[in-house]
Each structure stands twice: as structure tokens, then as C-alpha cells.
């Protein structure tokens, strides 16, 4: 066996005539006006024409559809005349039987010695398969464009601001509303423009979220303030989703919704409460004085019982008013504590006794340490905390028959942990965070009277003491609210 090339075989393969006629591509020669003057056998086979039918009788344009012909006149001919060549032009060729097949045309101009075009040499490649693939590509490209338009239509119709940010931290998309808010066109809007309108505190807040959550690959929600076109700060809620997908250019996708209404509504409620509570306080005090005077006067027992009921009702009213005053103090940040040292055992006993009078359905079970424990705190306000928590416990356990008030000394921390345990409806996870917000009320209780301020006040009083209200709850089993206060000294009787 020889590894040397077979000379006879090579010679037969390299025969120009054989190459020309049997090449796996069509060869075609035309005059400058398109008249076909030569075609190889491959092409004749594809077309179904004989040489006699084709040569000198047909022009290249006769092989093209009408649309192809326009393209031929507008692109092919000027190009070949000016450039001397054409490359990869895509046409459909008509066979003798009228059927079509897609081809790629490559061609060179052939010039005489005066550089005048005398003929055009063309190769024709059948690209039926490739053409299908290209059609798919074109289809996909158009679909992508439609999808993009649809997204933009939806985004632009939204009253919220919608944006995307890429890995480099550049704003890559902003919807119509956002451009409107920042009063710029799409090209002008950059992160810098946005940051210039951000309140300095919001700027810090956003940057912190940005870096820490970006690092962890987590989205975030943040309340921020943005200057509107009247240069007044408005509240907005930014929601950002972090994209883990390898989508080119997209790292963050988010919205920005006006929260001004919500924040302003809370501020308006605060204002109202502030004014109303101060206005209510004086007449209630006057009323109380007169009722007390009547009580000590000479009156019949029947009238006295009415007066006592009035006084008791008035006390409830005063409690409510002082709640509102507490809220006002909390909101303005001046919840001043009246600190004193007192026995927590006694306070709990007093509270339990008082509260037992308000319920006939529940037994208040007091579990105290044997040892008397003293704390340094605002006695009136801790009493208020206990009243709030026990009242809640009673309210949210309509089917139960007891509430446990427990007080335990914890040697390690040298504090006393007070917990109020009920066996009622419990709190769903979705409400856990919100129950401490002012004006928030659990859905179940919305039909009952109340302002939704109890836990808000309680939490803030405890915070002012350096303590914190914690909750453990299971839906349908009940809740336990606890807080701790440091014990002063280390023994009883001080």
C-alpha cells in the first residue's frame, strides 16, 4: 500500500473542466446587463434547464422573483459595478418548474484592459437548510423585539416607577413614569440623577442595602424620600429584586411606589390624636372633680351608685386619654419616665386584683417568686403595660377561662421576667411584625372597638426602659408576651 498520492486520480480531479462542471456549487457567467453566457452542470441540474434554454436566452433577473429583482437592481448591480464584487447576497432562485430555492450569491466583476466591466462571474450556493435556520433566527429576533415592546408597553402604562440596573450599577431601563418624575429622557437618566434627588439619609440607606444585600444576593424593600418637581421630599417605597439568573446586563429589577399618601395619613392621625387628647384631658378632669364632690355630698344611695358608676366609666376614659397622650409623647420622642424603686410583686398583685374586676369569664392566675423583688422603673407606666397586656390577653381568648401572669427571677441576668400567657386565638406569622405598629389591628378584631395603639405604647414604654416586649405565639393555642426588668440590689426588703 502506498501513501503517496495517486497521480492519475489527482490529475483527473484537478481537470479544470471537471472542477467547473462537477463542483458542489453552481457557476454562472453573465454579461454586465445580466444576460447569462455560461453555467456549469451542477447549476443546470439544480435549475432544470438545458444549456440551450438558458444561455443567451435568459438573464440573471429572470431567475429571480420580483422582490428579488428590485433588490438585484438596487443593490446587486450598483455594487458589482462600483465594488467589482458582491458577497453573500441572499436570493431565491426560480427553477424551470417554478419552484424556488434559496441561494447565496458571490460574484466578481471581470474587466477588460480599459477597466471596463465585461462580464460577471458568480458562484451560487444552495442554502436551503441554512435558510431554514436563518428564518428561525429572524423569527426569534422579531419575537424578542415584540416581547421587549410588550414589556415596555406594560411598564410604561404603570403608574409606578419601574427600573433595571446592571452589574456595573448603571441604570439600564426606566419606564415612562420614572422619566416623567425625573423630567429627563431615557438617555439622560443615570443613577447620578436619581441620587441627586434623594434625601441624604435615604441615599445612605439605599447604598447600605445596595452593598450588603447585593453581596448576599438578596432583594430589599426600603422607604426613601425623593424630591419631586416642586423640590419637596415625598415618601416612596423601593422594592428591588436581585436577579440570580445569568441575564446579561440585568442584576436588579425594581419598582418605586409613592408612599406619601400612607406616610401622610399616619402623620395626620398623629396630629389629630395630639390635639384631641390634650383637648379632652381638661374637661374630663373637671368632670371628675364635680362627680367626686357629689359623691361626698348627702345624696341617696341610688344616686350614689350612679355617681360611682360614672366615676368608674370616667376612669376608663382617662385611661384612654392618657394612652393617647403617651402616643403623642412617643411620637415626639419625649416619653419622660418617672423612675422610682418599687416591689414588682406588689404591682403585679395590684394589677391582677384591679383587672380581675373587669372580667367574669377568666381567672387571673398570679405566679410570683416567693422572694419580694424590687425594680427601678416608671411605676405608672409599667402598670399601664400590665393593663394593656392583660386586657389584650382577655380580649383575644374569648373561649378560655384563665390568663397566667408569671414573674420569674433570672439569676444569670439578675432580672425579672414578666410574662402574660393566654390560651386564645394566637397570632399568625403574617401579623408578627405588624402588631407593634401604631394603628395596626389584627383582621379578626377589626369589628371590635380599639385604636390599635396598645402594643405600640407598650413596646415604646419598655424600650424607654431599655427593655423589649417579646412574643411567642401559636395560632389557635394562645400567646405569651414577655418582658424583663433589671432587679435592683440582690435581696428582698430593700
Amino acid at each position: 500500500m502506498s501513501h503517496l498520492p495517486d497521480h492519475d486520480l489527482l490529475a483527473s480531479l484537478l481537470d479544470p473542466e471537471v472542477i467547473y462542471h462537477n463542483a458542489p456549487a453552481g457557476y454562472l457567467f453573465t454579461l454586465p446587463n445580466g444576460t447569462i453566457i455560461a453555467a456549469n452542470k451542477t447549476l443546470l441540474g439544480w435549475l432544470g434547464y438545458t444549456e440551450e434554454e438558458l444561455l443567451h436566452h435568459k438573464k440573471l433577473s429572470d431567475l429571480l422573483s420580483k422582490g428579488g429583482n428590485i433588490h438585484y437592481e438596487m443593490f446587486f448591480r450598483p455594487l458589482i459595478t462600483i465594488n467589482g464584487k458582491i458577497k453573500e447576497l441572499n436570493y431565491e432562485i426560480i427553477r424551470k418548474d417554478g419552484s424556488l430555492f434559496p441561494v447565496l450569491l458571490n460574484g466578481n466583476g471581470i474587466y477588460d484592459k480599459d477597466e471596463k466591466l465585461k462580464a460577471i462571474a458568480l458562484t451560487i450556493t444552495d442554502i436551503t437548510q441554512r435558510n431554514l435556520y436563518e428564518k428561525e433566527l429572524l423569527k426569534a429576533k422579531n419575537e424578542a423585539k415584540i416581547e421587549k415592546e410588550r414589556f415596555e408597553f406594560l411598564a410604561d402604562s404603570s403608574p409606578e416607577m419601574i427600573w433595571t440596573i446592571n452589574e456595573a450599577g448603571e441604570l439600564t431601563y426606566a419606564n415612562h413614569r420614572m422619566l416623567q418624575f425625573f423630567e429627563v429622557n431615557a438617555k439622560e437618566l443615570t443613577i447620578k440623577t436619581v441620587f441627586q434627588r434623594l434625601h441624604p439619609q435615604s441615599r445612605i440607606k439605599l447604598l447600605r442595602y445596595w452593598f450588603t444585600n447585593g453581596h448576599k444576593g438578596q432583594g430589599f424593600t426600603a422607604l426613601i424620600r425623593l424630591k419631586n418637581d416642586h423640590l419637596i421630599y415625598e415618601w416612596f417605597e423601593v422594592k428591588a429584586v436581585f436577579s440570580h439568573k445569568d441575564t446579561k446586563g440585568l442584576k436588579w429589577f425594581g419598582t418605586c411606589i409613592s408612599h406619601d399618601e400612607h406616610i401622610n395619613a399616619i402623620a395626620r392621625k398623629d396630629d389629630f390624636i395630639n390635639i384631641a387628647s390634650h383637648e379632652l384631658k381638661t374637661p374630663v378632669t373637671v368632670l371628675q372633680s364635680y362627680l367626686q364632690l357629689i359623691e361626698v355630698s348627702e345624696i341617696s344611695d341610688t344616686v350614689r351608685s350612679f355617681v360611682l358608676k360614672s366615676l368608674s366609666t370616667l376612669k376608663n376614659l382617662q385611661f384612654l386619654i392618657s394612652s393617647l397622650l403617651n402616643v403623642t409623647a412617643i411620637n415626639s420622642g419625649d416619653l419622660a419616665l418617672q423612675l422610682s424603686v418599687f416591689s414588682i410583686n406588689q404591682l403585679l398583685a395590684t394589677a391582677a386584683e384591679q383587672l380581675q374586676h373587669t372580667t367574669s369569664s377568666h381567672r387571673l392566675v398570679l405566679q410570683l417568686e416567693k422572694e419580694e423583688l424590687f425594680v427601678r422603673a416608671d411605676k405608672e407606666r409599667i402598670l399601664r403595660v400590665l393593663i394593656n397586656l392583660v386586657t389584650n390577653a382577655l380580649k383575644y381568648s374569648p373561649g378560655a377561662d384563665k390568663v397566667i401572669i408569671k414573674c420569674a427571677y433570672r439569676a444569670v441576668r439578675h432580672d425579672v421576667c414578666i410574662s402574660i400567657c393566654d390560651f386564645g386565638v394566637g397570632i399568625g406569622e403574617e401579623d408578627f411584625k405588624k402588631i407593634f405598629e401604631r394603628y395596626y389591628r389584627v383582621e379578626l378584631q377589626k369589628s371590635q372597638p380599639g385604636l390599635g395603639l396598645g402594643l405600640y405604647i407598650t413596646q415604646n414604654i419598655l424600650n424607654a426602659h431599655g427593655s423589649r416586649l417579646t412574643v411567642k405565639s401559636e395560632k389557635g393555642r394562645g400567646s405569651t408576651f414577655s418582658f424583663a426588668l433589671p432587679v435592683t440590689g440582690n435581696s428582698a426588703g430593700r
Binding site: 422582490g67 438596487m74 464584487k85 441572499n90
Partner: protein, 245 residues
């Protein structure tokens, strides 16, 4: 003399004939928005959805350069753009030279434009498929041509750096236009250069233009195809010079 290129071309398509006029005239060549080296960002789909938008640009050039007595040479669709411009502001113009004009490409009742709607859709398909090679990364490629270096600046698949979307929009504005009414309002002398075997602007269309345009004379060329200024520059120069005499 102002030379306005046709669809699919840019101002370089005039290079074979301009030398014949440069001694006697001040020549103005330009690229329409979307063609050649024009600023693509100036493209406004609304404005350029009809030929009026392009005619406005021609008038803007006249105003900016403070032109008078312009001899407007328009190829293909630019013939109609020139007519629209000259009808609107005749004071800028002296004569119009229309190379392969067609006031309407689509056939209509009693009118032969040469095309059915499906033919044009077919063309747009070809344009799309021939733009597959166009990509956002493709710089305006400069093709060298050692044997004919003076022609080196053309691309192989298209003359222009045209964005496919803009080209499609220009194609629609061109091929769906109907300017037959505008022919009758022409107040300047004009010349129609009609090629033989021009499938884009067939002879009947050239004849229609002559009949309906006051002051128009028709010159039937030996040159074939749609771009005589490229394929037969000598004959084109001769015809224009005769008209300008």
C-alpha cells in the same frame, strides 16, 4: 447642483458623474438620515414615515446654505423627494433632473406602477435576510479593492452603514408612496432620464411622468437597469449636459 441619492445608496453613488460638472457648478452632495455616514440618532420614525420628511431635509439644506437656482439631480425615490421640495419652496430651485422617477410603484386602477403589494413584501423579506449579516458590532467596514482603489469605500452587501430598521422604514416610505398628484404642480423645467429595461421604473412610468408633469422632457437611455449614473456614466452626463444647455 444638488445630487440626491436613491434608496439603498449614499452620496458615493454619484462619483462617476460629478467630475463632469465640478468646473461649472457648485456641487452639493449629502446622505439622507440613515444612509452613508449620517447621524443615525437623528432618525425620527414619525418624520420619516413619508417622503415629506426627507423633502424637509432637502429644504433645510437649501436654507442652511442659502441656496438659489438649484439644479436638483435626484435618483429614483429622490426624484419625488425633489419634486415635493420644489413644489413647497420653488424659490430655491431652477431645474429638476429625475433619474428613473416613479410617482407610484404599486399598480392601481388604470395605472401600471410595476408592482403588486406581495412583490414589495417579498422585497422587504429579501432586505431582512440580506441584513442578517448586519450586527451591532459591525463597524462601517471599509472594503479595500486593490484593482480599483478609488472604489474602496463601499461595503460588499450594501452601500451604506444603514441600520436595518431605518432601511426598512425608508423602503416603506419609498415604495408605498403615491405622488402622482404632485407631478401636476411642478412649476420648474424638468428632465426625466428613463433607462431601458428598468423593472423598478418601467418605461410606461417614465411616460406617465412626462405626460403629467408640466415642462418635463423625457430622455430614453440605452443604459439598462435602474442606476444609469453608475452603469452608464458617460451617457448620463451627456443627457444632463444637453438638458442644461
Amino acid at each position: 447642483m444638488m445630487f440626491a441619492h436613491g434608496f439603498g445608496c449614499d452620496q458615493q453613488s454619484w462619483q462617476f458623474i460629478t467630475h463632469a460638472f465640478e468646473n461649472d457648478y457648485k456641487l452639493i452632495l449629502f446622505d439622507y438620515v440613515g444612509a452613508g455616514h449620517s447621524d443615525l440618532s437623528a432618525f425620527d420614525p414619525e418624520k420619516y414615515s413619508s417622503l415629506d420628511g426627507y423633502a424637509e431635509d432637502v429644504l433645510d439644506i437649501c436654507e442652511e446654505l442659502d441656496l438659489r437656482d438649484v439644479i436638483f439631480v435626484g435618483h429614483s425615490v429622490s426624484s419625488m423627494i425633489g419634486i415635493l421640495a420644489a413644489n413647497k419652496h420653488p424659490e430655491y430651485f431652477d431645474k429638476l433632473i429625475l433619474i428613473g422617477p416613479s410617482p407610484r410603484y404599486l399598480n392601481d386602477d388604470g395605472y401600471v406602477g410595476g408592482f403588486e403589494k406581495k412583490d414589495l413584501e417579498n422585497l422587504f423579506e429579501f432586505m431582512d435576510s440580506n441584513y442578517l449579516g448586519w450586527s451591532s458590532t459591525m463597524a462601517p467596514a471599509i472594503m479595500g479593492n486593490p484593482s480599483r482603489p478609488e472604489l474602496g469605500q463601499f461595503l460588499t452587501t450594501s452601500f451604506c452603514t444603514t441600520d436595518p430598521d431605518i432601511a426598512r422604514s425608508f423602503a416603506r416610505a419609498t415604495f408605498y408612496s403615491d405622488n402622482r398628484e404632485d407631478l401636476g404642480r411642478v412649476s420648474k423645467p424638468s428632465l426625466t432620464l428613463q433607462c431601458s429595461e428598468d423593472i423598478i421604473a418601467p418605461e410606461q412610468v417614465g411616460e406617465f411622468v412626462r405626460q403629467h408633469t408640466p415642462g418635463n422632457s423625457l430622455y430614453l437611455m440605452e443604459a439598462t437597469g435602474h442606476c444609469p449614473h453608475i452603469s452608464a456614466p458617460e451617457e448620463t452626463i451627456k443627457a444632463i449636459k444637453e438638458f442644461l444647455k
